[in-house]
């Protein structure tokens, strides 16, 4: 196996082991319904995490993701319910707004040379604040097109549903993987994360690429916001609080290095599924108090990363530079 694919494989193996263990305990977890739910329930997180993967591979971080989801949800809802726009038009508008927003953040990061952490933190405040200035209440969306879109699904035998948004997430993951691993843009992203100085000297258009990366992340966050609004048929300023942390964890659990330069889009998919599995497991268990829920999530997280390291170490018996910690 190619050395670079090992973390991905390790994560996938862990997911399978964990899933098998859960099914042994709760046989009903092996149903099309649960599998369908995995996709539908994590669609918005997955889509946002694809964008986050690019940002992290490039050596940055985007804390504004959750807030952008909340903001776009509110904007879509307001455009449709208050101003009577057609949903498709509303989608175009919010994606455009998000693209500008991301471009502005990327430009600030590149030209002002401020760490992405700060810029996107300001972006997070701005988006979340903007949403609550528009409305503090949650705004329901009642539009037949919306209803139709959120009812769009393939019913599977056994009560499962492959929803539109679940499939959309898969499509985004595949597209993201192609973009990251098969295009010049993708190689620029890795180059920036590997060594920005070298990247510049090798002729990578650093400014353009940086702007594009944050644009991509914001646009995907906005798409995730649209998905979230489809999921809940509403826009709510407090929606998706903290999703950026979930997205970052999914990315990192998926084998991407937070220091940049290494990672896989499909690893993030496994990461998202793994996080979803933990939640589903806890729901199926149903005996944990609020606090034990948190403790158990922490413990499972810990077990996953340790397991991942063990599998990785076992499959790479040669030397391993301490710098390149896996998880």
């Amino acid at each position: 196996m190619k050395r670079s694919l090992r973390p991905l494989a390790a994560t996938a193996v862990i997911f399978l082991i964990a899933y098998a263990a859960s099914v042994l305990q709760f046989p009903s977890m092996l149903s099309t319904r649960v599998l369908g739910n995995f996709l539908t329930d994590n669609a918005f997180l997955g889509i946002a995490a694809v964008g986050m993967t690019f940002v992290i591979i490039s050596g940055g971080i985007d804390l504004s993701v959750g807030a952008v989801i909340g903001f776009t949800g509110v904007l879509v809802a307001v455009l449709i319910s208050w101003l009577g726009f057609h949903p498709l038009l509303a989608f175009v508008i919010v994606l455009g707004v998000a693209a500008l927003f991301g471009a502005a953040m990327g430009a600030a990061i590149h030209y002002l040379q401020v760490p992405s952490f700060i810029v996107t933190l300001a972006g997070m405040f701005l988006a979340r604040g903007g949403a609550s200035v528009i409305t503090q209440d949650s705004v329901p969306i009642n539009h037949e097109f919306y209803g139709a879109l959120s009812d769009l699904m393939i019913r599977l035998p056994g009560g499962g549903r492959l929803s539109f948004i679940g499939l959309l997430m898969i499509a985004i993951f595949l597209g993201g993987a192609l973009l990251a691993h098969r295009t010049r843009f993708g190689s620029y992203v890795y180059a920036l994360g590997g060594n920005p100085v070298s990247a510049l000297l090798m002729g990578v258009p650093v400014a353009r690429t940086t702007v594009q990366i944050y644009m991509l992340s914001s646009v995907l966050a906005a798409l995730s916001g649209i998905v979230f609004s489809l999921y809940t048929s509403a826009g709510y300023p407090l929606a998706a609080v903290g999703v950026e942390l979930d997205a970052i964890s999914a990315v990192v659990i998926g084998g991407t290095l937070l220091t940049g330069g290494y990672g896989f889009v499909l690893g993030t998919f496994v990461g998202v599924m793994l996080l979803g599995l933990v939640q589903t497991y806890i729901i199926f268990d149903g005996t944990l108090s609020s606090w034990w829920t948190k403790i158990v999530i922490g413990i499972l997280l810990f077990l996953f990363i340790v397991l991942q390291r063990i599998i990785f170490a076992a499959s790479a018996p040669g030397e391993e530079k301490p710098e390149k910690a896996l998880v």
């Binding site: 098969r182 180059a191 002729g203």
Partner: protein, 505 residues
């Protein structure tokens, strides 16, 4: 316009860092079909001029002309569009990506808008073949030695150069064969009419392929001249502003008087890295290590120092059996180690020159016996003086120093710890003639003072100049040990080449 046609020209270039004038009114012209050597001491401003010529830095004055037309190069990408390919001094590639991608980044062959990996890797294999490099193009660049990376950088630049090829110390840490290979490529390009800028500290190489030389000193242009009118001494005088006494490769006087044994390695080795070897090192002895690129010299050094711990064999220090599992163990026994990969494992880029010099000594002293600022200044100043480190200030970040000066800083770092056993992996890499002679002198002096050393160098003259003994590596194995008065580069080459089973690559 001047009567000669310059493909690339710089007129009146100024570059000022803070209040340090790095380039002062430099004129430089490059003709098609010439190899133009750019020479000067460490810190003279060669790399800075290159960076300005390729858009990596913006000049503070003066202009750049391509084919007589003034251009403003915003970034290296812009320079590439004019057909200028560059190898910068420190290998500036992406260790996290594959060899093929490093060769083609920005120019990957596409199919339906997507990168065609199969073609890219096939092309890469063909290109690498020109350099006798038989590596997997899909392997991660960072998994290869500095020398391999340097070849990849050269290959990339050659690919990109339609008009001008700039090589900033491409041959540091390449072995003879590789250098010859490179020269073949360069001469081929020259014949095709490319203009080539070549920076090196090896005068032999300058004379081997260059047509003209330009010499810089302290940021000022000294002279541009045709090479055939110059002798080695002339060039050195131009560079240093004075003559130096050349310490030839002759005065090896291995003290046959058996000194005390300092180190005894028995069956020492590491799986997948170096086959077990036996080596005894005495006090006051310099053991040179020779071998081809990739023969495992660096690995031997790392195992001895515990950077990659040995997994078999034993080591005795002063007769006492001991275990060296990590660098701190080795340092406790008075070891020191100048690694080969200066950028990744040597310098602490953002820390000051002063801090870089005292760090190992401080590490030895521990957390609580801190050297105060004055003591640090004193130590750093002392070595700055004796090693002739050219820095605007001892408080400037070491990454802003010229490459050769960084090397001196790392050497100073270990000398400051007063080691009993010093491992030097390519210590003269990127060091100018003056300093080179100085380092050879230093090694000889330290040996006479009783220090034991293991020195790896691709420059055989140099190895001969200071070694008491030379071990030869081939295919990760110590295959020969040469001693006695009659060692010379020829003998070493023979020992290296004396391959029982020929033909692998």
């Amino acid at each position: 316009m001047a009567d000669t046609h310059y493909v690339l020209e710089a007129r009146g270039i100024m570059k000022i860092f803070g209040n340090h004038v790095a380039l002062d009114n430099i004129d430089f012209g490059l003709k098609a079909g010439e190899v133009h050597a750019l020479l000067g001491e460490n810190g003279a401003g060669k790399s800075t001029l290159i960076k300005i010529l390729t858009g990596a830095y913006q000049p503070d004055g003066g202009g750049i002309y391509v084919d007589g037309a003034q251009v403003s190069l915003d970034n290296p990408l812009h320079a590439q569009t004019f057909g200028i390919g560059t190898v910068y001094q420190e290998v500036n590639l992406l260790p996290n990506r594959s060899v093929a991608e490093n060769l083609f980044l920005g120019h990957q062959p596409l199919r339906f808008g997507f990168v065609n990996f199969r073609k890219m890797e096939a092309d890469a294999r063909v290109i690498l073949k020109n350099y006798d490099l038989n590596i997997d193009p899909s392997s991660e660049l960072g998994s290869h030695s500095v020398a391999v990376q340097q070849i990849v950088a050269i290959a990339r630049a050659v690919q990109l150069s339609g008009k001008v090829l700039i090589l900033d110390e491409p041959t540091a840490s390449l072995d003879r064969n590789e250098v010859e290979r490179l020269f073949e490529v360069v001469l081929g390009l020259k014949a095709r009419g490319l203009a080539i800028i070549f920076i090196t500290h090896f005068l032999d190489q300058v004379f081997a392929i260059s047509d003209r030389v330009t010499v810089l000193r302290n940021g000022k242009l000294i002279e541009t001249r045709a090479l055939d009118a110059l002798s080695r001494t002339d060039v050195v005088r131009l560079m240093l502003g004075k003559d130096i006494a050349f310490s030839g490769a002759t005065d090896v006087e291995p003290s046959e008087a058996p000194n005390e044994v300092l180190l005894e390695f028995k069956g020492y080795g590491r799986k997948r890295s170096v086959l077990p070897f036996d080596l005894t090192i005495h006090k006051g002895e310099v053991v040179g290590v020779a071998g081809l690129l990739g023969s495992g010299r660096t690995e031997v050094a790392r195992i001895m120092f515990g950077a990659d711990p040995a997994d078999q064999g034993t080591v005795r220090v002063n007769g006492q059996p001991t275990a060296i599992r990590k660098a701190t163990d080795a340092i406790k026994h008075g070891f020191g180690f100048c690694p080969e990969d200066r950028k990744a494992e040597g310098i602490l880029g953002d820390l000051s020159v002063r801090e870089n010099i005292v760090i190992a000594l401080q590490g030895k002293l521990g957390w609580f016996k801190a050297l105060n600022r004055d003591e640090q200044m004193e130590i750093a100043g002392r070595f700055g003086e004796s090693m002739d480190i050219r820095a605007a200030s001892l408080d400037m970040p070491v990454k802003l120093l010229s490459g050769g000066n960084q090397q001196k800083v790392i050497l100073s770092r270990w000398l400051a710890t007063d080691p009993a056993f010093l491992i030097l992996d390519e210590p003269t890499r990127g060091i100018d003639v003056g300093a080179h002679a100085e380092i050879v002198r230093t090694i000889n002096r330290l040996r006479d003072e009783g220090m034991a050393m293991l020195v790896i160098s691709s420059e055989l003259d140099e190895v001969v100049a200071y070694s008491s003994r030379i071990v030869v590596m081939r295919d990760r194995e110590m295959v020969a040990e040469l001693r006695g008065k009659n060692i010379n580069p020829g003998v070493i080459v023979q020992a290296i080449a004396n391959n029982p089973d020929e033909a692998v690559a």
